[in-house]
Symmetry: C2
Subunit: 383 residues, 2 copies
């Protein structure tokens, strides 16, 4: 049921003609209240797309009544004209829904540097309003897909309240989120400051630890809307727990559907002096093309793990580092461990465990392999 | 003539049986004096290979009489035993050449985490000593190849003195050098401190600005040996100029032969507040897999240039950035410029010019595209 699983939300997904394929490309999520509390996390890219600039303004008030999302064009690097397009989108949706434009967040995804066909987009918004439904969540989730092969949705049930959500993203996954759009909804009653803090905590250990290809998009947005329709007021800790569960579920779906990937790789760095060190070392592995191609080729090339970690400033002594791949400790004390022939990499799931031998902290980064299909998909994206 | 172009150097390349293909895999370069001044730049990877650890000790005296280089095994992450193997290699070569072990630098390249077959290696050193020749430079250059498709050599003639050199490297090119071995020779008379300063300057604007895949190897070494055999003492500036010419020539050969590449890409960042900013922005582009795959696909996807630069902390205002690809200014003021259809990317050479509009400094980073052949080569390397 996606974003319409909690009470008091309606959604829709329609084909506005933004995608040349005729697939659904415009989604609308509406919060029917009574509350309209909202929080968001946006890309840190210094070229934020027009919809990110707009939605930041909307969210500064901590309130959102509706979200318009389109695929088929990112509306990024489109200058003041592009910002005007986003503003016009919000104005149009607000008019159709009897709201103010400042109540309407906008998200876009697709090719950078191309203006959106506004006549089609506004007609699509009108069409979406006409079919808004309490069962519309799955349609909305389908309409935000780009290179995704499947829609991503989640439902987390708690005691008298629910979190629902949808995500799109199949590449450019990186820290601080990347080419991913997420809308979460809940019928719990949550003050805006509690919601914002909880969302930040939840994304920090989920989306921000998925590092598919190290690329950071101009459009990434995670939104959460809370309407209190269930009359339940969970504690701050309960909100964090439920949002983390929803975000982790969606993050793992993004990972499993990453462009052209054949492996889901969990890199756990233990024995670190700090969580930051563990994350730094894990990310260095997740972004090392030589390691990622080796794993695509079922090659337990642990030397590339060490070479990657050796470029970081994490605290460790080279002769105390162990590396275990799918249960086989192929490297002990920075040198040769058990035979690499014992490592079975034929499945989709790969675990790389690195022990830095420098402390007691740990963290896990998730990534994918670098495959021939990844290159093929991304070399043919805009042409 | 490679390393034997200057007077007073002999070299050899032989098949020691380290490579299963039977190809030449062991090289020897000997300096016959009168001087034995030397300087070096090594990898900054925190897992330096045994030969790097050894050669650092040798170079600490500023003197080198001979260099043994092997392909077919990197001798990295092999623990104290691996260091013992390198030490034994130097001892053996020293004995054959009537030198001390501390006069002999060692370089290795190949798979990480595997011990070298020392019986074959020492027999190979003996065989190489037997065929040392003043014409042996090209043989030595062939013996250090791994995935290189051609040997790389250079000769720079100056007024009464010469710089010769050889390089190997066809992947893992990155700042601070990567999976590259370089030996330069000169018959000029140069004090060790002048030679070291000149080499550092020369590598900073050549090898360290080639960023093929962002990966930094455990074995990178650039050595220069000066014997004064020509009796000429050039100025410090003349040494910098000649070494820079030799290093740039070899760096461009490495770029042209990068694993599986179909494009040589020069990313020039102008209008930067500092050279550091220009390099940071250029490297962010050079390491962006989405941009590199787009260029492989002949797609002038300038949005990915901005998205890459947007992840950096370089000084710029987003609405003042221009991007020109192969002469067409596709992005002006951070927004849409001339039509991308006008960009011809069918050739091998691609120039990306970014103007940050924030100052008057500039720098160029060279890289390659990310191709299907790159993935194929690197997924099948150790298996």
């Amino acid at each position: 049921m996606s974003t319409t699983a909690p009470r008091g939300f309606r959604a829709a997904g329609v084909a506005a003609g933004l995608k040349s394929t005729g697939a659904h490309d415009l989604a609308l999520v509406v919060n029917d209240g009574p509350d309209d509390t909202a929080a968001a996390v946006f890309t840190t890219n210094r070229f934020p797309a027009a919809p990110v600039q707009w939605s930041r303004q909307v969210l500064s008030g901590g309130r959102v009544r509706a979200v318009v999302l389109n695929s088929g064009g990112a509306n990024a690097c489109t200058g003041p004209e592009g910002f005007g397009d986003t503003h016009a989108t919000a104005e149009h949706a607000a008019k159709e829904l009897d709201l103010g434009a400042i109540d309407v967040a906008v998200c876009s995804t697709g090719l950078i540097g191309v203006r959106l066909p506004m006549d089609r987009l506004t007609a699509g918004v009108t069409a979406a309003v006409a079919v808004l439904s309490e069962d519309g969540g799955p349609d909305a989730a389908r309409a935000i897909m780009t290179t995704d092969s499947v829609p991503k949705t989640t439902v987390v049930e708690r005691d008298g309240w629910t979190v629902g959500g949808m995500a799109k993203g199949a590449g450019m996954l990186a820290p601080s989120l990347a080419t991913m759009l997420v809308v979460l909804t809940t019928d719990a009653q949550v003050p805006a400051d509690v919601l914002q803090a909880a969302l930040k905590q939840a994304t920090a250990v989920s989306f921000e630890r998925v590092d598919s290809d190290g690329c950071l998009s101009t459009n990434d947005t995670v939104l959460v809307l809370a309407n209190g329709a269930g009359g339940v007021t969970p504690s701050a800790a309960e909100v964090v727990e439920a949002l983390t569960a929803a975000c982790t579920d969606l993050a793992m779906q993004l990972l499993a559907d990453a462009e052209g990937s054949t492996k889901d790789i969990a890199i756990t760095v233990r024995g670190a002096a700090s969580v930051t060190d563990a994350l730094t070392a894990g990310r260095a592995c997740a972004r090392n093309n030589l390691l990622k191609t080796a794993l695509f080729g079922n090659d337990p090339n642990w030397g590339r793990v060490l070479a990657a970690i050796g470029t970081t400033d994490a605290a460790f002594a080279p002769d105390r580092v162990d590396v275990t791949i799918n249960g086989v400790t192929v490297c002990r004390g920075g040198a040769i461990g058990d035979p690499r022939e014992g490592v079975d990499l034929t499945g989709r799931a790969i675990s790389i465990d690195v022990d830095l031998g420098a402390g007691s902290e740990q963290a896990t980064i998730w990534t994918n392999d670098l495959s021939i299909a990844y290159v093929h998909e991304n070399s043919a994206y805009s042409t």
